[in-house]
């Protein structure tokens, strides 16, 4: 329903500009922005729903006056999935922002609402346009709006993060443009339709794929080009962080799939393997890097890196399946990837909104200053717990189902004929298992540090429950989290057409009644709804035992409010595992992973020359690439920035616009 979608887009735009117009009356601006986003999100879902179910592709194009082709819109199943992802999170974030942005009144709450809406709209555009030029245009719009969101708090750190983000985003979008340029050179057109039809030689296809992999991978936060992400995402207002981390990174994956699978047909198996390896590295390292964080939003950002890794792994194995003609592998792999894209958006959105609620309530992102909030913010705690359980892939919630499919895709590869598959499939499963366990550790420690134990600061002691509208925003996502888990048979059916389209095969049965299975129930099957039901049923056993042997209700004394037992000494808030301290053993055990630095440092000795010494450097917990890119960028930036010093912030914004224009010009020239 392009009309509905257009309405949705217009609503975003209306809301955005409305907020801009009303920026003097910030409360109204925030309300307009938030409500329109929520409504537009709902419209967006409605718009693409039929596409998703039917699997048809909708095309719409206007003749363009510009020389680089028509402004064409194409909504296929993949786009539909992406639009749903964007819309759901946008709607929830919109609701959330109604109260959340009240904290930003006076520092441009209206502007934030404007940029948020524009940002969402640009993301929708990215996934539906079918022309390289407009794609880049939307892509740049997305980057710039999100850049403004990153720096909206105008704190030094945020500005710095924004700067880094800005440079890296543009640096890597150059790669995307070059990829498109190469394809355009082949086809003579900027239309994606011609890209699909093109049949570039293998070497060229490989180059294009690699360019796309890194160009889009940077946006996705793929290790080793993730370093901007844990800085930029947390700096943005939390609802925007939710959008960036929950949605925008997926557009990177979308890009990879669009180019690698849709345009290039996933011709070569090593593309898939490469993706798998990058995915595995991102997943494992991303999960480990969460362990060192005490800033809740940075932790979530690293966790995004990890989840992107999981999605890339599934995508990679699917591409291998495509390339090697293993339909089943491709099918299950894409199913897992798309499912996880959907799920991750839900729970990461939920968690970022939760982090926003905490930030709003406590004015800090430092988890060491939290603690004891489970009693003070029980609803927030509960919703955050749902998110944590989902991200830890606990059955029968949604994270479990998509990871289960990912496991199945690896196992099926492992049963398959090729040696590479038999070797790498199970190893990928192992990587996923490590990731899962680390994620669990991390989120246990995180939830515990935030909500468990005793309040460790005055602001934690004074914390109050989150306002309702924020809880509603979180609650919506939490509902989807649970729903996508318990309703997994429906979800896999709904994703069927999109998966079938990507894997270039007929839609395979992946659900029957209450069960889901990887196309063949003999391989494996699982039923989240039945698991949930039996869990409730089995609860009877302990309840019966308690009923029989427990003291009867009237005599069973429960005394609450006791001081925690700390060997008889006065309990203090310090006597609790700190968020990072609890994970120290893991960091100790897997020091090797952090020592990845050591090797890369050798390669980049020049860049690292300013650092005090190799060993000290290697001992740092921060991932090397952070260091590396930061150093590089900061060096570059300070060179450039030196000249900026006289300029004001506004001038910098103008300057960024110049850069954007310059890029467009480059593309224009190319098209010519």
């Amino acid at each position: 329903m392009p009309t509905l979608l257009a309405a949705s887009l217009l609503l975003y735009a209306f809301g955005g500009f409305g907020a801009l117009v009303l920026r003097r009356a910030e409360t109204a601006a925030i309300s307009v922005g938030g409500l329109t986003a929520a409504l537009a999100g709902a419209l967006g879902v409605l718009a693409v729903w039929p596409v998703l179910l039917s699997g048809q592709t909708l095309l719409y194009s206007t003749p363009s006056l510009l020389p680089f082709g028509a402004f064409s819109v194409r909504i296929d199943a993949l786009s539909a999935v992406m639009v749903i992802v964007i819309s759901l999170v946008a709607a929830a974030a919109g609701l959330f922002s109604l109260s959340y942005l009240k904290g930003s009144i006076g520092i441009g709450g209206g502007a934030i609402a404007f940029f948020t809406n524009l940002f969402v709209a640009s993301m929708v555009l990215v996934v539906i346009v079918d022309n390289a030029f407009f794609f880049v245009l939307a892509w740049e719009l997305m980057t710039i709006t999100s850049y403004f969101l990153v720096i909206s708090e105008l704190e030094e750190e945020a500005v710095h993060a924004g700067f880094l983000y800005f440079f890296i985003a543009h640096g890597f979008s150059m790669l995307i443009m070059i990829a498109f340029f190469l394809l355009t050179v082949q086809t003579g057109s900027l239309d994606f339709a011609t890209y699909r039809a093109a049949n570039p030689p293998a070497w060229l296809a490989s180059i294009v794929f690699l360019l796309a992999l890194f160009g889009f991978g940077a946006k996705a936060g793929m290790i080793p080009i993730h370093s901007w992400l844990p800085r930029a995402h947390p700096a943005a207002p939390s609802h925007a962080s939710a959008l960036m981390s929950g949605v925008m990174v997926k557009l990177g994956i979308y890009g990879i799939i669009r180019v690698g699978v849709d345009f290039l047909g996933a011709e070569l198996a090593w593309w898939g393997w490469t993706l798998l390896v990058f995915g595995a590295v991102s997943a494992v390292l991303g999960s480990f890097y969460t362990l060192a964080e005490r800033d809740i939003k940075r932790l979530l950002a690293y966790s995004t890196v990890e989840n992107v890794g999981v999605i890339l792994m599934a995508t990679g194995i699917a591409m291998v399946g495509l390339a090697t003609g293993q339909r089943l592998v491709a099918f299950v792999g894409f199913l897992a990837a798309l499912y996880h894209i959907l799920n991750h958006a839900m729970f990461k959105g939920l968690l970022f909104l939760g982090a926003g609620a905490l930030l709003k309530g406590l004015s800090t992102r430092d988890m060491t200053l939290m603690g004891g909030l489970g009693k003070r913010m029980p609803r927030t705690a509960f919703l955050f717990l749902v998110g944590a359980l989902c991200i830890a892939a606990i059955p029968p919630l949604n994270g479990f189902v998509s990871e289960w499919f990912a496991y199945q895709s690896f196992f099926i590869t492992g049963y398959g004929p090729g040696f590479a598959g038999r070797l790498l499939g199970p190893l990928a499963a192992m990587a996923l298992a490590i990731t899962g366990a680390v994620t669990l550790s991390c989120f246990v420690a995180t939830w515990g540090a935030i909500f468990g134990g005793e309040a460790r600061s005055g602001r934690a002691k004074a914390a109050r429950e989150t306002p309702a509208s924020m809880l509603i925003g979180m609650g919506v996502l939490a509902l989807f989290c649970v729903g996508f888990g318990l309703g997994s048979p429906l979800v896999v059916r709904a994703l069927g057409p999109a998966v079938a389209a990507l894997s270039n095969s007929a839609s395979l049965a992946t659900a029957d009644g209450l069960y889901v299975f990887p196309a063949n129930p003999r391989f494996a099957l699982v039923s989240p709804p039945l698991i949930a039901m039996l869990m409730l049923g089995l609860l009877a056993l302990p309840v019966i035992v308690v009923g029989v042997f427990g003291a009867d209700r009237s005599r069973h004394i429960v005394r609450r409010g006791a001081e925690a037992w700390d060997c008889g000494y006065q309990h203090t808030g310090q006597m609790a595992v700190s968020p990072t301290g609890g994970m120290e053993p893991l960091r100790f055990f897997f020091e090797g992973l952090y020592a990845l630095h050591r090797f890369t440092v050798l390669f980049h000795r020049v860049a690292a020359a300013g650092l005090a010494g190799l060993t000290r450097f290697a001992a740092r917990i921060e991932p090397l690439w952070d260091r590396l890119t930061v150093t590089l960028t900061v060096d570059a930036a300070s060179g450039v920035g030196g000249r900026f010093q006289a300029l004001e912030m506004g001038n910098l914004r103008v300057y960024t616009f110049y850069i954007f224009l310059a890029l467009v010009v480059v593309l224009l020239a190319v098209a010519w």
């Binding site: 060491t368 700390d566 060997c567 008889g568 000494y569 006065q570 203090t572 310090q574 006597m575 609790a576 595992v577 700190s578 990072t580 301290g581 609890g582 994970m583 120290e584 053993p585 960091r587 100790f588």
Partner: protein, 571 residues
């Protein structure tokens, strides 16, 4: 007064410091042939102690403060050094602190070993060690009034109980390494500590960055008690209760101190019986420690087996003294019980059984898969730190120093006994366990030797004359290190001042260094490896450097708080 003594040990040290400090040396007096007390000018105290400590192989035994205002108008400080190089003796540096200006130059900056002693002096006497870096209380409870010094004569009745001023602990724990970290409280009621002590571990995850501790939970005021309620012979039953494990060696040391001060010649047979009891105590104490070490590393079978065998040592104690513990065997002048044929045979039989059992058990322990892995390299005590802080017993012997007061300053019947001072070079928990294991075997040898060579004759001297103001040191080697008792006799069959330093008191300060860079899981094991005896350290007190003003809260308020546990009156 004791100038009849002809063999004067310590003369060389005296000559040396005389040469170096000349006029600062005011007086020298021998208490026994190997105990000399030298009075020095207060100002040169730190230098003299440093010279003796580092320059002449002195180790710190203890510090005694004494309120001698009734005797000479001053407070007196006695820095007791055990000279362990050439010319072995107890060399006591005494300095008088004027009553009107109760402060003295701190020795701690030069000799770290005295830190606890000086903190305690401040707690108990209100003498200010000028230049002492650690200004916190050591011995007295957090809520003890700031200006009440229990051991000053006439300051207070021994039964005085000031009302508490705080409903919670106010002690400040110092993390020397980093500013922020998680704190793990270990004790006072931790499953692995038989006694209350509070360790504050500053950790990152499981790794200990630094540690601090608050001991003296069991400070009851025994030194005051011994000077007030009790007569000199009753104190023997108090010293038994300094420690539930090695109480006997305390009584032994105490009795020796009084006997030396009074010049009593204790019958030889009594000395043999005392030494047998001392070795029995060492036997069961070391077995206890080895057993607990097994327990703490989760090897409960080893723990139980060791305890099974240890029961035999307890039976020997029962045969010998009539009780498994708190032995009540010695009196000033001799012992209360003799060893007759029945006892002798039973003891020898049990010793023979123990010899077999202990060998079996040690065999088992040594062949247990991961026992060594669990203890090697854990809780390292650097020999340099050991030298700085004068620890004793297995702690210092595990770091390579052959310190044992049985051979260093022989007493009792040890002069000819087959004492083997075993040392290990590993400096870790394993080394200390091995030292104890060797000690167990050695104790069995010594018991057999003593029983075999036990002379005839009386076991008790009665009717000696009691001379006030004489003083002397009693030293014994407890299972954990050396016990040092310093006694000054008073009028009326009571003590003027009694100071006891248990080995654990000397061993605590190094613990901080042993903790660092180990994991929380090893903390109980490390604590156990010094075989601590918390109650041994009953007799001292300390107050906070960063003096937090304590407010006095009405008793009623506190009671209410006790009942309701809310709205603390001090919050």
């Amino acid at each position: 007064m004791n100038d009849h003594v002809t063999i004067r040990r310590g003369q060389s040290h005296l000559d040396a410091i005389r040469l170096q400090y000349g006029a600062a040396i005011e007086d020298a007096e021998w208490q026994t042939e190997n105990q000399v007390t030298v009075t020095v000018a207060l100002a040169s105290l730190p230098e003299v102690v440093e010279t003796l400590y580092y320059g002449r192989e002195g180790w710190l035994a203890t510090i005694v403060a004494n309120d001698e205002r009734q005797l000479n108008g001053h407070y007196a400080l006695y820095y007791i050094l055990s000279m362990e190089g050439a010319d072995r003796c107890f060399f006591v540096v005494r300095a008088l602190v004027p009553a009107h200006k109760p402060e003295f130059p701190s020795v701690t900056p030069r000799v770290p070993a005295v830190v606890w002693g000086e903190r305690e002096v401040r707690d108990m006497f209100g003498l200010e060690p000028v230049g002492l870096p650690d200004q916190r209380r050591l011995v007295l409870p957090d809520d003890w009034p700031d200006d009440l010094y229990p051991l000053r004569k006439g300051a207070m009745d021994y039964r005085t109980r000031p009302m508490p001023a705080a409903p919670a602990e106010t002690y400040t724990f110092i993390n020397e390494k980093t500013k922020t970290s998680t704190e793990v409280p270990l004790g006072p009621l931790h499953i692995t500590s038989d006694e209350p002590a509070h360790f504050r571990l500053f950790v990152d995850g499981e790794r200990i960055i630094d540690a601090d501790y608050r001991l003296f939970y069991v400070h009851r005021g025994m030194e005051k008690l011994a000077e007030t309620r009790m007569s000199y012979n009753e104190v023997n039953f108090l010293t038994d209760r300094i420690c539930g494990i090695c109480g006997f060696t305390h009584s032994f040391a105490y009795s020796s101190a009084v006997e030396r001060a009074l010049g009593i010649d204790v019958p030889e047979r009594a000395q043999f019986i005392r030494s047998v009891a001392g070795e029995v105590e060492r036997l069961h104490s070391n077995l206890l420690n080895v057993g607990l070490a097994c327990h703490f590393i989760g090897f409960d079978s080893g723990f139980m087996q060791v305890f099974r065998v240890r029961e035999k040592a307890m039976t020997i104690a029962e045969v010998l003294t009539g009780a498994r513990k708190t032995y009540a065997l010695t009196l000033v002048g001799g012992v209360r019980r003799d060893i007759h044929k029945a006892e002798r045979l039973r003891i020898l039989e049990l010793v023979a059984e123990l010899r077999r059992d202990v060998a079996d058990i040690l065999d088992i322990l040594m062949s247990t898969a991961n026992l060594e892995a669990r203890t090697r390299g854990v809780g390292r005590l650097d020999p340099k730190i050991a030298r700085d802080f004068s620890p004793s017993g297995a702690v210092v012997r595990g770091s390579g120093f052959a310190r044992d007061t049985r051979t260093m300053h022989p007493y009792g019947a040890y002069a000819n006994a087959p004492v083997v001072v075993h040392t290990e070079q590993g400096c870790d928990v394993l080394s200390r366990v091995l030292v104890r294991v060797e000690d167990v075997q050695n104790s069995l040898d010594i018991i057999e030797y003593l029983i075999d060579k036990m002379p005839e004759g009386p076991v008790l001297v009665e009717g000696f004359s009691y001379i006030p103001q004489r003083f002397a040191i009693g030293n014994t080697e407890a299972p954990r290190g050396d016990d040092i008792h310093w006694v000054m006799l008073g009028d009326n069959q009571k003590l003027y001042r009694w100071r006891c330093r248990a080995p654990t008191y000397a061993n605590w300060p190094v613990l901080r260094y042993m903790f660092r860079d180990n994991s929380v899981a090893d903390a109980p094991l490390i604590v156990a490896s010094i075989d601590p005896c918390y109650s041994c350290c009953d007799r001292m007190t300390v107050v906070d450097v960063r003096k937090e003003t304590t407010t006095v809260v009405p008793m009623k308020e506190l009671e209410r708080w006790g009942r309701e546990r809310k709205d603390s009156p001090l919050a």
